[in-house]
Amino acid sequence: MNKKIKPWSQAHSAKTFATLRNLQSTIHHAKDIEQDIRILARQLKEQTVTTQIYQLDKNIETNLRHLQKVFSDGDDVIIRRLLVSPARQKAALIYIEDMADQAVINNHIIAKLTCSCFGVDNNRNSDNLAGSITNILTAGSLTETMEIQQAVQRVLLGDTLLLLDGVPTLYIIATRNVKLRSVSPPDTEPTVTGPRDSFIEDLRTNITLVRRRVNNPNLVIKKSVVGQRSHTEIAVTYLKGVVNYKYVCEVERRLNNLQIDMPENLAIQNLIADHPHSPFPTTQQTERPDRFVSALLKGRVGIIIDGMPFAVLVPTVLSDLFKATDDYQEKWMTATAIRLLRYIVAFFALSIPAMYIAITAFHPAMIPTPLALAIGISREGVPFPSFLEALIMISFLEIMHEAGIRLPRTVGQAVSIVGGLVIGDATVRAGLVSSPLVIITSFTAIATFSIPDYRLALAIRLLRMPLMAAAASFGMYGLMIALLIIFIHLSNLESFGEPYLAPLIPQSLLRLDDLKDTYIVAPTSVRTVRPTYLEPEDLTRQDPTK
């Protein structure tokens, strides 16, 4: 037996293995093909819907079939069939579960339609019913439309669609049930004495917050839709009689030119900004309605985006980013001191690590002898050159910045202990970093936090590193050259046609009025004109003499 089997097995085993391998791979391929076919079938079945291809029909069933396709057979789309009471006429309601207010649908639509006690005549004519439908329904707003596209859009926002058999019209009933959080105090722009409300994610609420502050019919809110897939509502806001229309037209032109799927949060401000490649923000974002309104009153244009608790203000010049709401509520002298402090501190936040490097490694004669000796003593034994030392500490700072944002609140304390103790104290004790640099680093951190605008602070944090490199290579000379490059860049920037340094460096001596709210905060009674660089239609802001 053994002798017979052995040659057989030897001869055939290789062949069998090859066959099995082939079979195995065929099965694999078959599985792939099956998967591909399934995907293809799904794609064919669920094609991206464009509503334009469907026409309204007299027959309700046809319309319903079309709409069902439009809504991709979604499970949250409710189609409620009913018979309108006296005539037993077929009708259907389409709405999205939870987005529409179920109570309104029950009480004001279904109850009325199926109620047997119509006040009107009992004619079975469907045209009659269509005519009297406005009287039957007790819902707030009712729109008739022939276009499926508009109707679908409204349903997606939470409205209800009413279809009647034999009537080629769609009735849109306002049943929106928007789930909102309440208006809460601003998180990122806190003030001491300012108002405590801030924008929320809902466009309508935000517009309300703005309207409440300006009781003026000249406050214009122009809504448009941005995002080819998301259809996000955007409101361009301005004050008629104040704003220069060149800004309004420019904002609308840029918004209309946008070809995007969806305005992802505030990414829209990068898309409409003049200089997308500059680190400096040429638009301003705010979550404070009071700030938004005061900007409108100066002649700026506001953009409110649905779903964002921040509004965007344009044009934005550098001095706008140094203003805080509290400035105008304080006495002008204290406000001026604080404003000046912010400019100085921003400069130091940008340059003080670089200055430290330049002075200690290149120009120690610039500091008084006892200070130079003190720094020398503390640097004794530090194994890194001052640039590397500063780079390590500033990198630590940046990492902690970033970690601070990402951290869950519960572990925040642990990080602050690790950061403060380990980085502050232990590195000095270990002799890796000199203690003056720890002071410099913490000063830098605090200075960065005192810049009112977050995006400006980001720009400053970014530019700090190149400045340090310049200072490490060429000392004060390099630092000055780098600062000059930054200033040249700043003076090249524009925001919606407005020079970025506009009021800080007045265009002419006739425009000195603008300086009253830049480096200083002039008394309120003196600030009688709106910013002239914005060329507002009505320059006079107030006239206290009258």
């Binding site: 020398g376 290579s473 060429f474």
Partner: protein, 393 residues
């Protein structure tokens, strides 16, 4: 576009590949805080190797230049080392100070850095030989500061720098700070800075430098070394003469005058000058110049050591004021006399003559220090006003 970008990148890179020129970390700089200049005592090597000798192709081994540097050390370590010195001393010898400075670099890796230099001390011997040629190095070097204070010591300058003082501070810093006390104690020459001395030498003007002496862990500033218009030290003013010279030069700030108490000559009365108005005039009569000093000193009685005498008594005050007038006049005269003896007009009276009598000055300017100045009479007219005699009672 890409070509342009690459070009710009190359240009920028050439900037960076030059490296960090001039970069020297602060702890690697040799902060020279004080410089001492002595004559070399003996040219015999002190050990097996002649450590101090600077290599010079020409010139003798004449000067010994000593640098005082701070000792950088960690604060934690200072507790253990509290008995140790807080400074480092490096020196080299040669005729050229620059060559000697460079010779120090063979001893220590941190190159001397002069921008924070506080004092330069000359030994009296060096001063007597003239400091003009030495100062050239200190004026020429780009790192030098015009605010460096110059001092003369009767002993060896290196000992002033290397002496161990009571305070744990670098000697040079300590001396430089102590020189500010001249406003309270005017009996040593006002601080004289390198820039001033340079302009004195340029204008052929005599000047004084304070003396610094070291003994028993202490330094003291005292008197004044008088340098003639050639930059050679020719003598000293004692402490009272220094004060008299300062009154003539109108740079007295404050000071005290001690006189015997009029009520009891064996006890003292002390007057503190708070304010003064000094007027120095030159009168030219028959081509003969003479000086007039008119001054009013206002001050308080700082000490009345005779307890029986009421300080409010007007006759006592009158007597005291008269004593003070005599005493201050004597100080002024003695200071002036000494300057005349030394043929060195360190009170800058020559500029007064130049301003008030320019024609006369033209005739005599070459003979001023040697011939005219020693013969000019001085008239002293002093008033003393005791403004606040009583603080107690």
């Amino acid at each position: 576009m890409l070509k342009n970008f690459a070009g710009i990148l190359l240009l920028v890179l050439t900037l960076f590949i030059t490296g960090c020129w001039d970069r020297r970390e602060i702890e690697n700089r040799g902060y020279v805080l004080g410089v001492g200049i002595d004559h070399v005592e003996s040219t015999e090597p002190k050990g097996q190797y002649d450590l101090d000798k600077a290599a010079q192709a020409a010139g003798r081994r004449k000067y010994k230049i000593t640098f005082e540097l701070p000792k950088f050390r960690k604060q934690e370590a200072s507790k253990e080392l509290s008995s140790g010195q807080s400074h480092l001393i490096w020196s080299a010898e040669g005729e050229s100070l620059f060559a000697a400075t460079r010779a120090v670099s063979a001893k220590v890796y941190f190159a001397p850095f002069f921008e924070d230099i506080q004092i330069i001390v000359f030994s009296e011997q060096v001063g007597k030989e003239g400091i003009r040629d030495i100062l050239d190095f200190f004026q020429r070097d780009a790192e030098m500061r015009r605010r460096v204070k110059l001092l003369v010591t009767p002993g060896r300058a290196e000992e002033v720098l290397s002496a161990k003082l009571q305070v744990e501070e670098v000697n040079s810093m300590f001396i430089a700070k102590t020189m500010n006390s001249v406003s309270k104690y005017p009996h040593f020459s006002s601080e004289t800075e390198l820039g001033q001395v340079a302009s004195f030498l340029r204008n052929h003007q005599s000047f004084t430098l304070p003396l610094v002496v070291v003994e028993n862990k202490e330094v003291r500033l005292t008197k004044a070394a008088v340098f003639n218009n050639q930059g050679k030290m020719i003598g000293k003013l004692n402490e009272l003469e220094v004060m008299g010279g300062k009154i003539l030069r109108k740079n007295l700030q404050k000071g005290i005058v001690t006189v015997p108490n009029p009520a009891n000559p064996s006890k003292l009365a002390v007057f503190e000058i708070l304010e003064h108005s000094i007027k120095v005039d030159s009168l030219l009569v028959d081509n003969q110049i003479n000086f007039v000093v008119k001054a009013v000193f206002i001050g308080t009685i700082a000490e009345n050591m005779e307890p029986k005498q009421s300080a409010i008594d007007s006759s006592f005050l009158k007597k005291l004021e008269q004593e003070l007038v005599d005493y201050i006049s004597a100080i002024i005269r003695s200071g002036y006399r000494k300057q005349q003896l030394l043929h060195a007009d360190v009170s800058e009276l020559n500029s007064l003559v130049y301003r008030q009598h320019p024609h006369y000055w033209k005739q005599i300017k070459d003979r001023w220090d040697e011939e005219i100045f020693p013969t000019v009479p001085l008239e002293v007219d002093i008033k003393v006003n005791i403004a606040r005699p009583v603080l107690m009672d």
